[in-house]
């Protein structure tokens, strides 16, 4: 196995008396496609939010690329290479497609922009940012629609842009929260192809409902139930795991 990119150690989140995430210790290797599955209420989204920083844990540690990021602000985690996409498309609707991507690219370079430039220099005058923007637009195939407002795009294109925003921040690990929720099977296939196309060289962590999908695409799978880690392993191992079959595969899939 290669280096570990993300690690959680005893991650726990309690809301009052409810323990949503209970002592979860994960480890994602560099370049791995990891999926986290589990029935409703298993603590998938809470785990996701603890890793991205939208919530802070009651106990436990999150380590990213070897550093403890448990108390690091969400935007700072993005800066360190931890990107995330949203379940419901969340792009800057009133801005152009190019500006959407450019903003994401700018965030990577914002440390190199001095205050004077930040206030007064034309935002389109930064060659590195413009270059990165062009590359990403090409990768997501929206270069022809770059001057349209994001809200005018068709749904599928908005999903592409959503991924483009993540991509433009040049993340090492991308957290994907049910990227195919509410999609038809063709749309799901198209989205997974896109993820494969543009994000395959990065580590991925996918929160997902759809077991068939997860079985096809993942390197490793973690199964959560009632906030606890039930099993982790390759798709074959998970498919053959008795506990998983009892707790999840057997029960929920009608």
């Amino acid at each position: 196995m290669t280096e570990t990119v993300l690690e959680t150690d005893g991650l726990t989140k309690r809301f009052g008396k409810l323990t949503a995430v209970d002592d979860v210790s994960l480890s994602v290797s560099d370049g791995e496609f990891r999926s986290v599955i589990g029935p409703n209420g298993a603590g998938k989204t809470t785990t996701f939010n603890l890793i991205t920083g939208a919530l802070s844990p009651s106990e436990g540690v999150v380590r990213f690329k070897g550093e403890d990021i448990t108390n690091v602000a969400p935007h700072e985690r993005v800066g360190r290479g931890l990107g995330r996409s949203f379940q419901i498309t969340n792009v800057f609707g009133g801005l152009t497609v190019r500006e959407n991507v450019r903003l994401a690219a700018q965030s990577v370079y914002s440390d190199e922009i001095n205050p004077g430039e930040a206030l007064f220099r034309d935002k389109n005058g930064f060659e590195e940012i413009a270059e990165q923007t062009r590359t990403v637009l090409e990768q997501i195939g929206l270069q022809d629609r770059a001057d349209e407002h994001a809200e005018a795009l068709a749904y599928g294109d908005q999903r592409r842009l959503e991924l483009g925003l993540v991509l433009a921040t040049d993340p090492d690990l991308v957290m994907l929260d049910e990227p195919t929720a509410g999609m038809s099977s063709e749309e799901t296939q198209a989205t997974m192809n896109l993820i494969d196309e543009v994000l395959s060289d990065r580590s991925l962590m996918l929160i997902e409902h759809d077991i068939d999908l997860v079985m096809r695409v993942s390197d490793r799978i973690t199964v959560l139930t009632r906030g606890e880690e039930l099993a982790s392993g390759t798709p074959e191992e998970i498919a053959n795991n008795e506990d998983v079959r009892d707790a999840y595969l057997g029960g929920v899939r009608e």
Binding site: V108, H149, Y155
Partner: protein, 674 residues
């Protein structure tokens, strides 16, 4: 004797507190259920008092008072319901910001109707003789009316509580204030209840107006004077919480009254040191409000989570409308040239007064522009923006009086002090969002407003005077008032010089803001307005950007205030002219009216607002009525402001041309499933 005196003050405080309870109950429930920040609540309160004046007159105080206290609230309640039906209803689902514009318009309209019908003179509301008698119980002497107010208001509060908690209607309304969507999801048409809530809220306000009118007097400013304390009560108790309104109302009433009575009096003496009550009258409630908002933004009794509802859409001035960029630049150039030549036209007309109006427009254009930076770009709505305008003006006046008369030093001082103030206020306020941010900035502004009355160096309620600006630096230059030169036989004075100075600064401010919005910093602000969460998760420290925007905006508003002090038409810088909350409302209204999120829109808004005010007031006394109506019509039909009119017109023409199945430009809804 001390104890009796204290109890007397306590009773006075409770009396006032009960009025606040009645006012705040409606305001709070209206906000909780409908998300409407209702500035016109104070005018409905006044309307109650005025109606009862007219009802009491023919019957006499004995029976008239009792008829009035039943009939007037019913009438005001019906008016409230009608207002909800016709004006508030079309705005549901939009950002609460638009309710500010709407209800601000309603304030102007209702207030002017009151002036029109009842005149501007202060009136006495006659109460039955047996109520106005003083009575002494256990050595405490207050009038029977105090006891009547407390008991009557308490009864009403109990009835309201019963209706809210023990009836089906009340349950639905309370559920609506917790989570409106959920109520809809269980199949109840909550919208139907809005009219009822608004009507009952208005009726309770009217009762409060009658009760307080009988205690003090009836005047056209009474609505204005209670609305801010009522907001404080609502925020303290928790937006949407009836229990909170009761507790908050009594607390504010008692604290206000006790602080007024005992400020500066000796509390205790320990040897050489005497402990006195600090002179914080007027400040205490705002300090309390800020503290509560910082520690528990949802208020003492509030249960609503922060931002439990997805906020409504903020409509910016449109994406440049139908006019091409080059056209707009050319139009802007023409506007500047026209403004530069305007004094010559005014010279020929021979009335320099127009120049005074233009100067005011330019100052407010800068003020409105500064607001647009935070409101139109960073999505922050400060309800206390006039604190920077006011502090800028005070700073400028103080610098001129004590330090330097140089215009450049004066304006720089105003900018710097306001930027620092904005940094402090912003650091504290930006942690809370949405309506809580609006309220906390309001509290800071009111705190400063009350504070300038307290200090000698700010001149108390008189304000500052006797300052003069010097156009230059060091000894090079000339006093503004000494500047006078002739041109083609016309006398040109300080108004001209100041006009060009203000025009130059306005143009530079605009260019600065435009440059900034096209630079990396401004682009991030726009992304925050579009989606704060997304901006955060592409790696931006959202709060830091907001705080910086707030500092820049505060500095620019300070510049506008500084210019006000420098202006030759300004003789006095007084609290009401600069720090009164009404200016915070006005500047929001002007920015929305012009078209926010465009930078030039708010500046145009300033021109149209003051131009219309000047023009209308020279023809009719009812100009407020007309401007208020204009606001209401705009918020209903032209929500993107004046700057969106060209594209609205173009759209109309388009639909008229291809009448068969024309495509509506405003609805790119074809995105769904293709």
């Amino acid at each position: 004797m001390v104890a009796a005196d204290f109890i007397e003050q306590l009773l006075n405080g409770l009396t006032l507190g009960m009025v606040y309870v009645l006012l705040a109950a409606g305001l709070s429930v209206i906000f909780g259920v409908m998300d409407v920040i209702n500035f016109s609540h104070g005018e409905l309160f006044a309307l109650g008092a005025y109606f009862s004046l007219s009802i009491i007159a023919p019957f006499g105080a004995g029976t008239g008072f009792w008829i009035a206290i039943v009939v007037a609230p019913v009438v005001v309640g019906l008016i409230g319901a009608a207002i909800e039906r016709t004006t508030v209803r079309p705005l549901y689902g939009r950002d609460p910001l638009y309710h500010i514009l709407l209800t601000f318009g309603l304030v102007l309209v209702i207030n002017d109707v009151i002036r029109l019908i009842w005149g501007t003179q202060q009136r006495q509301l006659a109460v039955p003789e047996y109520l106005s008698r003083p009575v002494s119980i256990l050595g405490v002497q207050v009038s029977v009316y105090n006891y009547f107010m407390i008991v009557f208001a308490a009864l009403l509060a109990v009835v309201t509580w019963y209706l809210l908690n023990r009836t089906k209607y009340g349950m639905i309304i309370r559920a609506g204030s917790q989570d409106r969507e959920m109520v809809r999801n269980v199949g109840i048409d909550i919208d139907q209840y809005y009219t009822l809530v608004f009507g009952v809220g208005a009726a309770l306000a009217a009762v409060a107006g009658i009760v307080l009118g009988g205690y003090q007097n009836v005047n056209t400013g009474m609505g204005n004077s209670v609305i801010i304390p009522a907001f404080v009560v609502v925020v303290l108790g928790g937006l949407g919480s009836f229990r909170g309104a009761v507790f908050g109302g009594l607390l504010v009433g008692v604290v206000q009254t006790l602080m007024r009575a005992y400020s500066g009096s000796v509390l205790a003496t320990f040897g050489d040191t005497t402990l006195t009550v600090p002179n914080l009258e007027g400040l205490t409630v705002y300090l309390l409000m800020i503290a509560v908002l910082l520690v528990k933004p949802q208020g003492l009794f509030g249960t609503r989570g922060e931002e439990s509802d997805g906020e409504g859409e903020i409509l910016v001035g449109g994406y440049g409308g139908v006019l091409a960029d080059s056209t707009r630049v050319r139009l802007g150039g023409i506007a500047v040239v026209a403004l530069a030549l305007a004094p010559i036209a005014i010279l020929f007309m021979g009335d320099q007064y127009y120049l005074v109006v233009l100067n005011e427009i330019l100052i407010w254009a800068i003020f409105a522009l500064s607001l647009d930076i935070v409101m139109g770009y960073a999505g922050l709505v400060p309800l206390g923006h006039t604190m920077f305008y006011g502090v800028g003006a005070y700073t400028a006046a103080l610098v001129m009086l004590h330090y330097s008369q140089s215009v450049f030093v004066v304006l720089l001082g105003a900018i710097l002090i306001c930027a620092v103030l904005a940094w402090v206020v912003g650091s504290l306020s930006i942690r809370v969002s949405g309506v809580y941010f609006a309220m906390i900035t309001l509290a800071f502004a009111e705190l400063l407003y009350s504070a300038v009355f307290k200090f000698d160096f700010t001149g108390g309620s008189d304000g500052l005077l006797g300052f003069e600006a010097f156009l230059g630096l060091g000894t090079v230059g000339e006093s503004l008032s000494n500047i006078e030169f002739g041109l083609l036989g016309y006398e040109l004075g300080q108004q001209f010089v100041f006009y060009y100075l203000a025009l130059l600064i306005a143009v530079l401010s605009f260019l600065f803001a435009r440059r900034m919005m096209n630079a990396p910093f401004g682009s991030v602000l726009q992304s925050i307005r579009e989606s704060e969460e997304r901006a955060e998760f592409i790696g931006y420290d959202v709060n830091r950007y907001k705080r910086r925007a707030f500092v820049i905006s505060g500095g620019m508003a300070g510049l506008a205030g500084g210019l006000l002090a420098v202006s030759p038409s300004t003789v006095i810088i007084s609290p009401d002219q600069t720090l009164n909350w009404i200016h915070s409302g006005e500047v929001i209204v002007i920015a929305l009216f012009g078209g926010m999120g465009t930078l030039y829109g708010p500046m145009i808004g300033s021109g149209v607002f003051f131009g219309a005010e000047e023009f209308l007031s020279s023809y009719t006394d009812q100009w407020r009525l007309i401007i208020g109506t204009m606001f209401i019509l705009f918020v209903l039909f032209v929500p993107r402001g004046i700057v969106s009119i060209p594209s609205l017109v173009a759209q109309r023409l388009e639909t008229a041309n291809n009448a068969d199945g024309a495509v509506d430009m405003d609805e790119p809804e074809v995105r769904s499933d293709d």
